[in-house]
Symmetry: C2
Subunit: 344 residues, 2 copies
């Protein structure tokens, strides 16, 4: 029995990460004091704080996350949950703006913001598991389809904020007034003299898709115009190309087209131009989002500023409130506006 309990009263083992205990020993104080210094330093005399900090530096001490998490029951991590595959997320600038918006609303705060997407074959439910696994303290959910995910998330104890009305009462969300945006876009087409109008919709299992379509039909109705066609899309560039081909083959004789996202509009334009259709001379096009795609394509896209960054920032702010104990914040709806460029 010459061996005491492991590391009991010993110097820090070389190679092993130093612990609070090691720091305490070096500084000649108790673990609790070191803990106080490490977590803010209040309630500790300046001198001891300095002694402790010196020991921390000397040892290169880093708090053990697991141990801290075990007792505080918080991970210091929040997630942006996107029920789409990485392929889609990385190819649509909308998600970059959204992620960046949430990040910016947490800048200067301790929390780390991670991006979690669905794996190709997986059900969106895995994101719920991730949220309840204890690895994250809360989440912002973007691009949810249908209301299964919101319903599943409604029963979870971690705070969640949606981007776009989740359609389930009692949940926090930030959104853009998508209907209004589509009205603006459609009115622009009408103002520029177009009468044979059509729209390429976004995913119709998403509120954003529904509202943008609704805005289009409403603006048409208000102007006494009957839409020539309503072509289903899914917010991807490929679906835009497909929509354009269907427009061409149906020989719709359209002269104005509202496309529910810039990415789709890029696909539409590429395909139309490939077929010899001139934009805007033959068909005027208005997009939606004002993403970088709008500036990249020729002609530059007239579009609706979707404030993706700001909406996400609002969502992040609401999540912060929820995390700090606030009750359900009221939804925040931002107003879109029109960006005039060359395509309409």
């Amino acid at each position: 029995m010459t061996e005491p309990s492991p590391r009991g009263g010993q110097a820090p083992t070389a190679g092993a990460a130093p612990t609070l205990q090691d720091v305490a020993r070096l500084a000649g104080v108790s673990r609790a004091t070191v803990s106080r210094v490490v977590n803010g330093g209040s309630l500790v005399s300046p001198e001891t704080a300095e002694t402790v900090n010196a020991a921390v530096r000397e040892l290169g001490y880093q708090p053990n996350h697991a141990a801290r998490m075990l007792v505080t029951r918080r991970s210091g991590v929040v997630a942006v949950l996107v029920p789409e595959t990485d392929l889609r997320v990385f190819s649509d600038p909308y998600f970059a703006a959204t992620y960046h918006g949430v990040i910016s609303s947490f800048s200067g705060h301790e929390a780390q913001v991670v991006l979690a997407m669905s794996k190709p074959g997986e059900p969106a439910e895995r994101l719920v598991e991730y949220l309840t696994s204890g690895r994250i303290d809360g989440a912002v959910v973007a691009s949810h389809h249908g209301s299964d995910l919101p319903r599943a998330l409604a029963g979870v104890s971690q705070p969640v904020v949606f981007i776009g009305d989740p359609g389930v009462p009692g949940l926090a969300y930030a959104d853009l007034d998508n209907t209004r945006g589509a009205v603006l876009a459609t009115q622009r087409l009408i103002q520029s003299g177009r009468r044979r109008l059509a729209t390429v919709t976004g995913s119709l299992d998403m509120v954003a898709g529904q509202h943008r379509r609704a805005g289009f039909t409403r603006a048409c109705a208000e102007a006494g115009i009957t839409p020539v066609a309503i072509i289903p899309g899914s917010f991807t560039e490929a679906s835009g190309r497909e929509a354009a081909r269907s427009v061409l083959s149906a020989r719709h004789d359209i002269d104005g087209l509202f496309v529910a996202s810039d990415l789709m509009a890029a696909g539409v334009m590429a395909e139309l131009q490939h077929a010899g259709v001139r934009v805007p001379e033959d068909i005027a096009i208005v997009g939606f989002d004002d993403s970088e795609m709008a500036r990249r394509v020729r002609p530059a896209l007239t579009t609706v500023r979707g404030h993706a960054h700001e909406v996400a920032q609002e969502a992040g702010r609401m999540l912060r409130e929820l995390l700090s104990g606030s009750t359900l914040p009221a939804p925040v709806i931002l107003a879109p506006d029109l960006v005039l460029r060359d395509s309409a």
Copy 2:
């Protein structure tokens, strides 16, 4: 002393997550047995295993990650570390391919793969802290500039695999033969009859940038051609635009241009065409990467297939080996090939 220790012998508290203890109680076994069942189930009789699994299901038990991590000292998470800001990461398809490649090499394995980027103002060192914080078990590092980061990472106990030669001995990496790729690109320009050649380089503090430039100069030398210009770029689209403007204003009279990445090439082409230069008639262009940009631009870009996905996959595979205890695996260098399209 009527109160026993908290929750001792009690039913699981409503609202609190069920613990191993709760499951053990419900199944009528000890915690250790439940633990065995949850982690593989060997060394447990089939009947008790079934009883335990039933209890797990009934309670909806999820293992507490923090507690498990505290004792196993592993997090089950690996990271793709990118010392670039999210703006850059999300705007270059190269990173999507890289991330996806690493993910795919871990598919079917327990590990979760996360993407970690630098925040705008932060030094790349923060990524080292992240790696040593215990939150991840290992990492693949992509797009490192210079050798400060590799050197810092060399002293870390967690396994790390680089994409691109880190320039520090003793580190694992996967790479593309960038020099060879640049040679192929340049030879293509020469074969198509171009003699007044120039290159827009990538970041010259990255080995990929250096090697691509070296391949260009080598191919020129071998053909007895003196390069007209070597224009510095940084792999971004904006730097491509800038390079194009400098080409135009210097009136270099170039007829063949090797641009060290597709994204830059897109910027170069947009700017040249804007100035009335025809591609490939006036200036032939070869890009590098074969990213989706190469197919999106007009004319479609002749480029070098950089196999970003496969290189990343190799790096992921090497990381898996390292994590399972293997010694330093030999570097893997993939061979590029040329993709002929319309720009050269």
